[in-house]
Structures are given as C-alpha cells and as structure tokens.
C-alpha cells in the first residue's frame, strides 16, 4: 500500500516535472508569458495593452511590489465592469529591478515589441529619467509616473500623478510653524529630490515668517549624525524637516531621539513617511513625527477604506497600500487614464493626452483628483502625526491643492 502510494507520487512528480519543463520551454520559445496578465473571460475585441514597468526586485521593491499589485487590482476591476471602449485591458508587467540600465531594455520591449498603449511606472526620479525618453520621444507612447517627487518634469505626454513639493509644503509648513515653531533645520540625503524639495521648502518657510537654521546633505547610507544632532539641540531648533532616506534615516532618528529632541518639544517632520515607513523606526523614536501625503489609512473615508480592504484581501499586509510607495499615485493614474480613454473614444496618444489634460475622478484614495495644465494632478493633502505606531490626521487641506508645476 505504502509502496503503491510512493510509486504514484513518484510518477506524479515525474509527470509534473515534465509538465513544468514543457511549460518552461514553451515560455522560452514564445518569449515569456506569465508576465502577461490576460483578462478573464472571453472577449470579442482585442485587448488594450497596459505596460507596467516597476521595481519588483532590488532596493526599491518595497514600492514596486505594491505598485504592480494595485495595477493588477484596478485593471481586473475595469475588466469586470466591461473594460474600456468594449475592449478588455491586458496588463504586461516588466521588472525594472532598480537598475536603470536594465530598465531601458525592459521598457523598450514594452514599447517596440508588445506595442503597449500606455506605460505606467518608475518609482525613483532616476528611473523616470532613464526610461522616459524611450517611452515618450523614441517610443511615441503615453507615460504616467505615479510617485511623489521633486517636480520640474515637464516632458510632453508624461503625466505625474503623485504629489509635488508645492502639494507637500504649502499646507504642511504653515502647520509646522503653528505646531512646532519658527526655527527649521533641513538634514538631507545628497541626491536630487532633497535638494529641489528643500529649495522649495525654504521659500515657503521664509514666506511664513520661519527661518532655516541649517541645511545639510549626507550620503544616503550615512550613519553618524552626532554633529548635526548637536547643532539642532544647541540652536534650539523647533522643526527638523527631514529628507534623509533609508538606510541612513533610521540612525538619524535614533540619535535625534536619544538627544531628547522630541521630549523637549521639538517637532520632527518627514514628507515621505507613511504606514510602511513606520516599520523602519521603533514607534517611540518617532512619536509626534508629522508627515504630509495624499492619503493615510487614518483618513478613514469610505472609498479609501474600500480600496484598502480589497487590497488587503488580495495581497495581505506585507506590502501595504500606502501613499509613500506610489501605490495611491498608481491607482489615481490608472483611473484618470481610464476616464481619458473613455472620453477620447480612442487610444491614439494625442487624443488620449488631450482628454487626460483635464481628466478628473470623483473618488480615489484620499478623495477626488483632477489633472491640471502642466500634466500634474491636483488632490487633497493630509497632515498626519504618528502616535504610538499609528497616524492621526491633524489637518486636511482646504479642497484640492494645486501641484504648481510646469505652468
């Protein structure tokens, strides 16, 4: 009996192995298949091809994985409601692997071989810069970039659906001055985003009667901040407006906490901190940290809760749906694009772009949003404060905030 089972198991596994091997060779021969998510059911019309190029592997995969998850969720949802223009959406996913060199090839495949109708993706600015030309200029395809970033991206046919410096500073900094104080310190990682964001933040701080005591740049993996912490403490700084990033940020927050900055009434601010980032630092070290983003779980609006519940059901809580990982930007981007395609009744780039220039959606994570001239999106912004490992919303923008880019 036992032998019989063993034998059957063996033969099964051999068969399974052969099947798998067959599948593998088939995939190799056909040029890949599992990355193509075909629409469920039978459709009379050819699918609309949606290219998703994001970092599923490498240091930025914490952002890329939720991005591809959200894309799949939204595309499935659109398909279950009849697709667009009577055609289903087919998602073609490419891993850009946090490697700009590789990404150009992957995106080229999307544009020249798969001939996708639109490309969504890129998390870092360096990734966007590497792939945008291949998509937009050489590839003559529409490109939608979902992440919060430093602004100044004004390439035609490239739409940015994440928050810009204006959106993250205009309501946030006055709040910080009111709820922290006038003396700011800007410790930063040394790359493009902090430099440009700080330049903008400085003008807003000064316009609101605040003053910048110091602005410093460190390598991203810097881990010795005692001199900076010392300066912050001895200058009696009220607000630390932080743009250092992982892995350096964990050490900085720890050293700042140990020096007693928050205990003495200082306010820590960091505009990319979302629910996901709370895992980087122990809750007690960032008690009172303020952030400003387009969505927090704590916004607790019915539509956002619905998305959140659906996402968690499909993908669990390991790679959560948050604003800082561009998942909200991806959601918004896909919905706005779908609206534009429906309005344009076409997939021609120029016609979709013309409709996308003023596309709006009534619902999304964090509320309604609308594309404004300059190919950026106006949206609600929320200021939240970390309290024992969770966020509490302390202020909501009065209506949608303008992105203030490319106008």
């Amino acid at each position: 009996m036992e032998d019989e089972i063993k034998q059957r198991l063996q033969s099964y596994s051999r068969r399974l192995f052969l099947q798998r091997a067959g599948l593998l060779t088939g995939m190799v021969a056909l040029g890949g298949g599992s990355y193509i998510y075909n629409p469920k059911g039978t459709w009379a019309a050819d699918p609309i091809k949606v290219g998703i190029a994001t970092d599923l592997t490498g240091p930025i995969s914490w952002g890329g994985i939720p991005n591809s998850n959200v894309a799949k969720m939204v595309i499935d949802d659109i398909n279950s409601k009849g697709g667009l223009l009577g055609r289903p959406l087919q998602m073609i996913l490419e891993d850009t692997a946090t490697n700009e060199q590789l990404a150009v090839t992957k995106v080229r495949k999307l544009v020249t071989q798969d001939k996708v109708d639109v490309v969504f993706g890129g998390i870092t600015s360096s990734m966007r810069n590497a792939i945008k030309d291949t998509i937009v200029n050489r590839g003559k395809t529409l490109y939608i970039y979902p992440q919060l970033y430093e602004g100044k991206e004004c390439t035609p046919f490239l739409y940015c659906t994440g928050p810009t410096p204006a959106q993250q500073c205009d309501t946030f900094i006055p709040w910080l001055i009111k709820n922290g104080g006038k003396k700011f310190y800007l410790p930063s990682a040394d790359y493009v985003w902090p430099h440009v964001l700080n330049a903008y933040a400085r003008t807003v701080i000064e316009k609101n009667g605040g003053e910048v005591v110091g602005e410093e740049y460190f390598p991203v993996d810097h881990n010795e901040y005692s001199a900076t912490v010392n300066k912050i403490m001895s200058n009696k700084v009220n607000v630390v407006f932080n743009t250092t990033i992982p892995p350096g940020v964990a050490a900085f927050f720890k050293q700042l906490y140990e020096a007693g900055f928050s205990k003495n009434g200082g306010r820590l601010a960091c505009v990319y901190y979302d629910e996901n980032a709370l895992n980087i630092t122990p809750a007690n070290e960032i008690e009172g940290l303020a952030s400003c983003l387009d969505y927090f779980k704590a916004v607790n609006d019915p539509y956002g809760n619905k998305i959140q519940a659906e996402y968690t059901k499909l993908y669990g809580t390991k790679n959560p749906f948050t604003a800082g990982s561009a998942a909200t930007g991806m959601y918004r981007g896909l919905r706005l694009w779908a609206v534009a395609v429906t309005a344009a009744k076409s997939l021609k780039r120029e016609e979709v772009a013309a409709a996308l220039d003023h596309a709006k959606i009534a619902d999304g994570p964090g509320g309604p949003s609308e594309v404004v001239p300059g190919r950026h999106v106006k949206m609600n912004m929320y200021t939240a404060v970390a309290k024992s490992g969770k966020y509490e919303i302390v202020e909501k923008s009065k209506g949608q905030v303008m992105p203030g880019e490319c106008v």
Partner: protein, 344 residues
Amino acid sequence: MNQPVASRTKRQIIPVIELTLLVIALILPLFLQDFWVLFTTRVFILGMLALSFDLVWGYAGMMSFGQALFFGMAGYSAALLATKWSITSVFVLLPVGGAVGLVVAFLIAGIIILGKRPPNLVFVALGTLTSSYVVERLARGWSYVGGQNGIPSLPRLTAGSFELTEGPLFYYLALVLLALVYLGLRILTRSQFGLVLAGIRQQENRMAFFGYKVQNYKGFVFCLAGLIAGISGGLYAFHEGYVGPGQLGPVLSTQVVLYALFGGAGTLIGPIVGTGLVDLFSFYLSQIWETGWPIVLGLLLLVIVVFRPTGLIGFLVSDRERVGSFGRPTKAAPPTPDARHEPA
C-alpha cells in the same frame, strides 16, 4: 609526431564559432522583430566592453573592476557634449568617447600599475574597484551632470545630416565597430606581443627576468582596454538615450566580469557569447519568475564559474586551442596539418 585526427579538428573550433557568429550577426536583422534588433545591438555594444575586460584579465592577467569607469566616463562626456554643446556627430562623439576612456585609463594606470613596485592582482582589483566606486559616488552628487538622475533624453547620433536611429542602422554600426575591435585584438593577441602578455599572465617574474618591461606592457594593455571601453560607452549612451551614475559603478563593472567568465575569458569570442547569453537568460528568467530571477541567474553563473573555470567556451574548445599559438609561423614551427600526416 602524429597528431590524432580528432584533436586536429578540435583545434579549429574557434574560427568556426567566429565565422558562424559573424554570418548569423550579418543576416539576423532580416529575421528579428524590432525589439530584438535593439536587444542584439545592445549585446554588441556591451560585448565590446566585455572584450576590453577580456584583454586585461584574459590576456594580461589584471583583474580590472574598473571597465565601467571608462565606459561611463566616456558616455557622460559624449552626453555632455551632445546636450550642452549640441554636438551630435558620430565622427566627433565616438572618438571623444574613446579618447576619454584612454585618458582615464592612463591616469588610473599611472597610479596603480606604473608605480615603483609592480602591483599584485588584489591591488589592481581593489584599485580599479574603488576608483569606479568613487567616481560613481561623485557623479551621484554632482548636479552639473544630473546627480542621481543622470542625463536623460539624449539626442540621436548623426552622420552629416543623417540621423542614426536605433534599429538596423545602429545595429550594423555596432556590429562593424565590434568586428573591427575584435579583429584588431585577435591580431594583437596572437602576435609576438600576445605571447608576451600570455607570459606575463602565467609567470610575471620570469618575464621580468627575461628583460621585458612588464609594467609597460600592462600599462599599454590597460590603456587600450580603456580606449575600447570608451568607444563602447559612447555608443551605449546614444543607443539607450540616457546616461546615469549606474553606468560608472561597480555593478556594471562586475557584470562585465561575469560576462567574460561565463563565456570564457582569454578567448575573445567567449566574452561576446557570454554577454549575449547572460543578457538573454536574465531577460527570459525575469519573464518566468518575476521576483526570484536574479537569484536563479546568480546561481547559474556561480555553477559555471565554479565547475567550468574556462567558461562556456571551454565545453567546445580544448585548452590548447584556447591558449593558441603566437606570432608568424616559421619554418621551425609545427608543420602544417597536411605535412603532419605524411607517412613517417
């Protein structure tokens, strides 16, 4: 004296591989879709970079982790000329790329190879690796060259009023350059000069005792490799339409080492085959297993490098052919195959 016939045929495998690949490369664009033409063009350009590494490691025995430095510096220089001064002529930018690669290689060689004491393997490896790392860090922080974001949206290369678009045209440009570089290196490495290099690789001290200025040979080869990497870097920047700090750094440098080791270092053709196969594998693997493909690729490379130190080409080519013969055949040299089989 008689050689078995099998080994005689074995000795002629490399030319067969070379010719086959050349013929395939020449007619390939007729059969390939657009994307694969671009893909293969990229393989040719990176293959040139892999050749430059093979020259320093496979022939002169210097482990250079700095090939990406020459490649990237050349790419950046050409990109700056194109964006800040609107120079797009291929006849200016490629020579500039090569020259930048050469000069940077010369400077590095001046520090780490041409010093008072002959450098050992680890010194060269770490010296080139750190140079590559330092320059990448600098490029990431320097806003004039775009910092972290690099220089996007490069214009296309031009020849007169003609624009070199990616596709078959660029493909043949890259192929011709690769073939020329390959031919040049093949002649060089099979010459008397190549014999000296092989000697240096195998037993450096003995070559020095013979009176060869070993360091000068090494320095020359290092600079030549810099020149080739530079040309390749200039070409790459304009084919991809983008340069970024990643093109300067240790990651690409290491990738090039893998290309060469995977295909088979010290054979010239091996690194080119390696470039093609590694890129093809990583492309397909990433289609099959979205989040685990780098691990599979890494294991595959590890297996080859551990169990086949001569690389994939080692499966086809005997050690004897890999090492090859040098210089012009003289009367005293081994007789031609026909003569060899004359009855004794």
